[in-house]
Subunit: 351 residues, 2 copies
């Protein structure tokens, strides 16, 4: 699925060496820009350019509803998914503020919200629901195999469309009441972890509800024998339409050598699925922040991911990507604009 | 020294309550913007406004040389301080890239570099050296009492000047070969810590040199009996001109209710001195990043500071402030622009 023509493997050792030298001979102690140096290195490799640039940065918010919300795993009523989509379209959400701040193109996708958006017309709205929410995976598989595949393909198509509009750096965010339960179930199934290691407070549920959430997850893993299942079956059984669309969108972005920016816990569960489906995928990703959601750190560790930020945020909707974006720009800025020791006539170290 | 008319104490409980409500009723789960909510709260309190704005954001780089460089505690030759000042003025350093990126005004101050800058004319250069570098504190006190006071007052004057140009958020950075030794000695003296707990790798020295650095610090603490000394004596004895100017600049900024942005290890040592001189000072500060310099975490912990970033940077020159600045803007952006639940017609939580 989605053949990634990994540019990292096609890059010559000479290019890698020239790139590392360019970074090392900037007027700064060796390695002193830390993670910004790694980001610059990755972006340059993906673009196979010593002067990489970001063009038309975009964040796609995939919104969907979850049947498992019926189990009482969320603090907010399900109607909030629909209401927040309208809030995104009206420009009032956190992600609107942050993407405006950084001139990031924002697209809102109805991936399967339990609402009728057919009358909504908006330049940044993509109305392509797979269904009116998933089924409750406590009772039956969240999606059919056809729905899961349709969602993956739709996500890929949306990324392709952004690519054709000149985008080479794309962030993935989401909105969906109860979707931390779905993300935690995916994590539990793929990484063979107990529900309680994966379930967190989401938007702010109490400890009793966290325990319920963990129980719902454990029962589903057991009911569908997901620890032995293949990745697509896991996605289909306990995933969500927004998660499946993110999987397809992320893999297509990697195929197109775009830099994939991952938001919080739910987007990271999609990245986990993508990394299971394609071994090269993680080379194309930058995790933008560590969420306050308790299992996110473990999930990131399992992907050997170092996120840019750890601000105690837990909002989703791509907000971590947008807030982190200027740091990515700083990485390219230093690579492209800073003087070398030779240019500036600055002495190197005594070593 | 520098009477701070703490606005935090003058703010009415009604204002605090109204501010917290404004933050809490934005369309997001309670507290879900993490540290950004704390930054917004702090900035609003300092400005005593529910709609705080940053105006003319500025970073001041104070550069100076250190007599203690003679002890062989640094990787780079002392002439690099002068060369980097010229690099700043020519726009080739990391801080130039990052402050350009965010439209931050950058000022470079010769606080006491071992070089003659009298011929240099540049709009952003302030040539006000206290002397051609400090004395080697391994042999004698780094400064005289008069020099130390002159540096503090000069720093305050520079902040005052920025304030008069409409600046209400000011970052403090520095450049000075061997100044991690000076900063570590200040930390050691004030916090009663051994030299080895405070000495780090600086620009990249090896373990043997780190041990030498710790020994130089321990001997100075002992020689001048600094663990029993008052704060100004410590600053005078093992400090540097750039550190003393930062102390004065930071305290004046707090006096003027400006938000003080602190860069890395050396700027944090100045903040430590400022916090010892005035109990209210830390209410006015935001620490921008945790440096890779090993003692920085302990120093921050001692000030109960939560930095915005932890990117493994260790460059100084205000770079951590500049890279973190857009996060501060994001904090004000959400406070000023995001819709409330009522505005957006979004349901609140079920609790």
């Amino acid at each position: 699925m989605f053949e990634i023509i990994a540019p990292l493997e096609k890059v010559t050792p000479e290019f890698v060496s020239e790139l590392q030298s360019k970074i090392d001979f900037k007027t700064k102690p060796l390695g002193s820009l830390g993670l910004l140096e790694e980001v610059a290195f990755k972006a340059a490799l993906l673009q196979r350019s010593l002067t990489p640039v970001f063009s038309n940065p975009s964040i796609i918010i995939f919104a969907a509803d979850h049947g498992v919300a019926e189990e009482g795993v969320s603090l907010f009523p399900q109607v909030v998914t629909e209401q927040m989509v309208l809030n995104f379209l009206n420009g009032g959400a956190a992600i609107n503020c942050f993407s405006n701040q950084h001139d990031i193109t924002l697209k809102i996708v109805n991936a399967g919200v339990k609402a009728d958006f057919s009358a909504v017309k908006h330049d940044h709205f993509i109305n392509s629901p797979i269904a009116n929410g998933t089924y409750n995976f406590a009772l039956q598989s969240a999606m059919t195999a056809e729905q899961c595949l349709a969602a993956i393909n739709k996500g890929a198509e949306i990324t392709q469309s952004q690519f054709e509009q000149g985008c080479n750096v794309i962030g993935f965010g989401e909105m969906g009441i109860a979707n931390t339960t779905s993300a935690a179930a995916i994590m539990s199934a793929i990484l063979n972890l107990a529900g309680k290691q994966c379930a967190g407070k989401g938007t702010g549920i109490d400890d009793v509800t966290v325990s319920l959430k963990a129980k719902v997850i454990d029962e589903a893993i057991n009911k569908y024998q997901l620890n032995d299942a293949d990745t697509l079956t896991i996605l289909q059984t306990v995933g969500g339409f927004e998660i499946a669309m993110m999987v397809g969108g992320m893999l297509k972005a990697a195929e197109l050598s775009m830099l994939v920016l991952v938001d919080g816990f739910i987007a990271s569960s999609a990245a986990l699925v993508a990394s299971e489906l394609n071994d090269d995928f993680l080379q194309y990703t930058q995790f933008c922040h560590q969420s306050e959601e308790q299992a996110h750190q473990l999930l990131l560790t399992n992907m050997a991911a170092t996120p840019l930020l750890n601000l105690g945020m837990r909002l989703g909707e791509g907000s971590g990507v947008a807030v982190a974006y200027p740091l990515l720009v700083s990485a390219l800025t230093f690579l492209n604009e800073m003087s070398s020791f030779a240019d500036a006539g600055v002495s190197e170290s005594d070593e």
